[in-house]
């Protein structure tokens, strides 16, 4: 996007070179993950300590592959159901990956992995106090978003749809409301996207970035899909900056009939 004047993608005072944030789970192999990260052009990747036993350095080889990408690391608290679990995991992640940045997940429902609004706010408040830079994975609820800002979150990550469903933007009204009411807060649509067109749509609506994992990692060709999303996110951003025309009920020809060149007149 070297020809359009875009404001920097800045989170917690730090500028990221790409508006695409990519997850590191579910790839067919570490090689495929590394290639997908490179193809996506991302500057920040999420990763999870969940299910591991970090005291024993048990995942070192795998984490090393992620570190080698050179991207900023955004540890997450995937799968945590209570603030206490999430806070413990956050502390472990901070120590292991040497970063205060955290994608906070507190899950309220096991089947669709919907965030628990109450646990999320409670955990976010505590983690901000402890010096974390919290990027909460939240629903598209405006009041919840405001509460998260109140407790000190500077970035919000509303869902498009439940994690891994590939449903796209399920509630455009709510998402638009978030964007309009919180114009100065960096908003990243996180989760639920399946197709690049959905990511482009979110960017056209003015969201600041996209976070996803499954849609790339579980594609038949993850590397190609990473490129596809990168292109869509760029296109969506450019479209937002360029200004979309309004939809209209009546046709308006782009070439006025009055000015038809003479050779079209029979």
């Amino acid at each position: 996007m070297n020809e359009c004047k875009d404001s920097p993608f800045s989170l917690y005072g730090e500028t990221l070179a790409s508006r695409f944030v990519l997850g590191t789970a579910l790839y067919p192999s570490p090689q495929s993950m590394k290639d997908s990260i490179a193809a996506s052009g991302t500057a920040m990747v999420t990763l999870s300590l969940r299910r591991q036993n970090p005291q024993q350095q048990d995942g070192d080889t795998f984490w090393q592959y992620i570190r080698e990408s050179g991207c900023r690391l955004l540890p997450n608290t995937a799968g945590c159901k209570t603030p206490k679990e999430a806070i413990n995991l956050a502390e472990m992640s901070r120590e292991l990956f040497e970063t205060e940045w955290l994608k906070l997940e507190v899950i309220g429902d096991d089947y669709n992995l919907q965030p628990c609004p109450f646990g999320l706010v409670e955990a976010a408040a505590e983690l901000v106090k402890r010096g974390f830079k919290v990027l909460p994975y939240t629903t598209d609820d405006l009041v919840l978003a405001q509460k998260l800002l109140d407790v000190g979150c500077e970035v919000l990550m509303p869902w498009g749809a439940p994690i891994g469903t590939g449903q796209g933007l399920l509630n455009r009204y709510n998402l638009r409301t978030l964007r309009e009411r919180l114009p100065d807060v960096p908003l990243i649509v996180d989760a639920g996207l399946g197709a690049p067109s959905q990511a482009a749509e979110a960017m056209e609506m003015g969201f600041d970035g996209i976070l996803l994992n499954t849609a790339v990692a579980k594609a038949s060709d993850p590397v190609l899909m990473a490129r596809a999303f990168a292109g869509a996110i760029d296109s969506g951003r450019m479209a937002f900056l360029a200004g979309l025309i309004q939809k209209s009920q009546t046709a308006s020809p782009s070439t006025p009939t009055l000015g038809q060149p003479f050779w079209h007149q029979s």
Binding site: P28, S29, P30, Q31, D58, G59, T61, F62
Partner: protein, 370 residues
Amino acid sequence: MNGAPSQHIAVVGAGLLGRLTAWRLARLGLAVDLFEAGSLRDTPKAAAFTAAAMISPLSEVVDSERLIYDMGLASLDLWPLFLQQLSEGLSQPLQPASYREDGSLVVAHQQDSALLQQFAERLQFHLGNATEHSQWLQQNQLRELEPDLAGFHRGLLLPREAHIDNHALLTQLLTALQQLNVNCFERTPINNVNAHYIDTGTQKREYDWVIDCRGFGAKSDIKDLRGVRGEVLWVETGEIELQRPVRFMHPKYKLYVVPKPNRQFIIGATEIESEDLSPISLRSTLELSSALYALNPAFAEARVLRSDVNLRPSLIDNRPRIVTKPGLLRANGLHRHGYLLAPVVVENLVALITQQHPFSFADTLIEAQA
């Protein structure tokens, strides 16, 4: 057999790869010593004992790549041959290890049918439109094949897939090795595996070839080797009968149930990027057992016999690899595909030692080291 019969070979690691390699070479008349860090019969360490032992090129291609499928097909041809030769070779014939080519089934509950559809589409992506690789079954056809899966509205049959009674196989391989005068050393960890020699810690032993089949045990010698933790449960019930492995699609789990002798079933497996060998977690226990229960509620009364945890030896691309230099072959990286790929890897090792024509897939598998 046209190689030099005087060759003396050390095989280090008595998992599936080590046992098969030692057996193939000993059959050709080579003098083979086999070394195992753990026990050969009681609580062996090898991932081969933890595995469910499916030979499932179709199910595996869905989450990997075409190469795994092609190698798997070659293995499907080799396994029956190996098993036949194995039972023929024994002076006291054993009941051959059960090897069944009854296919496998993929099912999902109705609310997760998109996952089943995606599985079918992924097969098509990798294998093209050929219809012989899979077959949709409606509820009545499914019930005919597997009456205990009557709760499912449809399923996908993968007719070519097979599964093997791996514990019987691994025991038989050991018996065959002993009858072929292979020296089997157990509880003998070899930390120094080199070209032309190994060091047992107390003794340096020289060989024409050393073959490193230690799996995850070779971590210090193979830079990009990592362990991928897998957890399984063994249960026993007389209430449910399955003829073939069943894969169960679920938004969070990718699980399988494989029938084993004596009314036993193995359910697995988690796949965690971790080299932690501590016991199974409560979370994994819940996930595995609830998947069983969802498959058929009659599993609720099954008895949990044991859980097992092991590390899949995996390289960065999750593909197998044979690194060669004069006097040393290191085979590793079979990842979650031990039984699926071992015959192909072993035939490549044998071809390298006996200097026969390279076996299939040599170009992809073998990497010469300076």
